[in-house]
């Protein structure tokens, strides 16, 4: 179970403190798939950063009773001067996973061939995305965080990603942030809406969408 208890996040801006999240509560049980909607700048990505632990809340607590991934296919932690395999090795060491066990999967899934032994800065955007997704799947988690589903690459690669995440790992929990209701409908059972720093949770995606629509006006 992941539990957000009364989370507040205040950023310091030039115009003074700016409260992005104001007393947010959320519970995500094992295997539960939750969508989070909100307009641009509502704090969706901030929420993901707090759940992932990249940033800490100004007040409140994030409890993680299950293992939580980093944001899916996040490539911002890549070091350009390191090879794809070096970056994999770092992630494996960090999570205590045996590197040699996962290399075959990453080689097969990323389809990068000999480029895995080249510095990441020589990769195209699509190649980075493929490596990033492969790394996300190389370490197993109970809950995956997704900040908008943007998968680069061709439709065949999209299909591979879909199978890997939504079919092979359909027993896992999911927290999916999106402003597209169809994405959330396709993958989530329930949804919450971020509006004015508050999180409003709904049992059905349709109710959440109705609230989201109303909040736009």
């Amino acid at each position: 179970m992941i539990q957000l208890e009364n989370i507040t996040k205040v950023y310091h801006t030039r115009h003074g403190p700016h409260t992005v999240l104001d007393g947010v509560n959320l519970q995500v049980g094992k295997g539960v798939k939750v969508g989070i909607m909100g307009r641009n700048g509502a704090g969706k990505s901030t929420l993901i950063r707090l759940i992932s632990g990249a940033e800490l809340p100004t007040s409140g607590r994030v409890r993680r009773g299950i293992s939580v991934s980093w944001p899916l296919a996040f490539s911002g932690a890549f070091q350009g001067s390191l090879t794809g395999l070096d970056n994999l090795r770092f992630v494996c060491r960090t999570y205590g996973v045996n590197y040699t066990d996962v290399v075959p999967f990453v080689e097969e899934f990323s389809e990068l061939g000999s480029f895995l032994r080249e510095p990441v800065r020589h990769y195209s955007g699509g190649m980075r995305a493929r490596l990033a997704f492969a790394l996300s799947m190389a370490i197993e988690f109970d809950c995956f965080l997704i900040d908008e589903i943007i998968v680069a690459g061709d439709s065949r690669f999209h299909e591979k990603c879909r199978i890997e995440l939504f079919e092979k790992r359909k027993d896992r929990a999911l927290i999916l942030v999106s402003h597209d209701v169809n994405t959330i409908k396709a993958h989530c059972e329930s949804a919450s809406v971020l509006h004015d720093g508050k999180l409003h949770s709904f049992e059905h995606v349709d109710d959440a969408y109705a609230y989201y629509q109303a909040s736009l006006h």
């Binding site: 990249a54 996040f74 911002g76 070091q79 090795r89 770092f90 960090t94 205590g96």
Partner: protein, 263 residues
């Protein structure tokens, strides 16, 4: 964050993460080409070598009967020890900010990694140069090995605590980085690397010994030269200064970690 995790488990994770960061940092900084990670100590070695050559040529320790090579090696190595730690921790967060998405990687780990590398580099450089010059007959072996080690370890601790303070403060404001450069520049001639405290007028001795590293360098030289030098230092003062700076540094790093904003 790991309030629900036992201490041994948390320690295990931290050691694992620091190990991963060390490997990553070594390959990132030095690559696999030419000398590779050997640059870790070849670079500080070259620094010390050039300074030793310069001081020998200009007769820096003129007026004293101390052998200049040993004087330069002990002095400049100690500067590299504390200064490189602080320099590498200054602005250490921005290039590594993406790593914080891997939750077990914390800001403190980034600093510890860089401190460990700098201490290792400066220490290996010191040992290699001292051994080399001793075997060439340019330097005498240390009079009191334990004394040298004691001074060196305290200087390393001072460097680590200074690095935590400077590194954390640069996370609050980049101005700190700009200020740190001139400060470290002026601290070099004051740090005890280029003089023995005994050479100074006694009222100035008291003032300069307020700088913690001066005490460390005196200990180091006292161990190296033995009875050939008269040293002035206060181990208790150095110890307390390191302890206070470490606690202050840890508190600042903790707070900086709370404020860090990932893109």
């Amino acid at each position: 964050m790991y309030s629900d995790t036992s201490f041994t488990k948390a320690l295990q994770i931290q050691l694992r993460v620091i190990g991963a960061l060390l490997m990553r940092e070594i390959i990132t900084r030095y690559g696999r080409d030419n000398l590779g990670f050997l640059w870790l100590f070849v670079e500080p070695m070259l620094f010390t070598l050039f300074v030793t050559a310069l001081w020998t040529a200009t007769g820096q320790a003129h007026g004293s009967n101390l052998p200049i090579v040993a004087f330069a090696v002990t002095g400049y190595s100690s500067v590299l020890l504390w200064r490189n730690c602080a320099n590498r921790c200054s602005m250490a967060i921005p290039p590594n900010i993406g790593l914080l998405y891997h939750r077990n990687v914390r800001v403190l780990d980034l600093f510890i990694t860089r401190i460990l590398l700098e201490v290792a580099g400066a220490s290996i450089s010191f040992v290699v140069l001292a051994s080399l010059f001793t075997s060439l007959g340019w330097m005498e072996p240390p009079a009191d090995m334990v004394g040298v080690l004691y001074g060196w370890l305290l200087l390393a601790w001072f460097g680590a605590s200074l690095a935590l303070v400077v590194g954390a403060l640069t996370a609050y404001s980049e101005v700190v980085e700009r200020l740190w450069h001139p400060i470290s520049y002026i601290l070099f001639p004051l740090s005890g690397a280029v003089f023995m405290v005994d050479w100074l007028p006694s009222n100035f001795q008291r003032i300069v010994l307020l700088l913690p590293m001066v005490n460390g360098v005196e200990m180091l030289r006292g161990g190296y030269f033995g009875s050939a030098v008269r040293t002035h230092f206060d181990v208790g003062y150095l110890f307390v200064a390191c302890l206070v700076m470490t606690l202050l540094g840890l508190a600042l790093v903790r707070d900086a970690g709370r404020r860090v904003e990932v893109e």
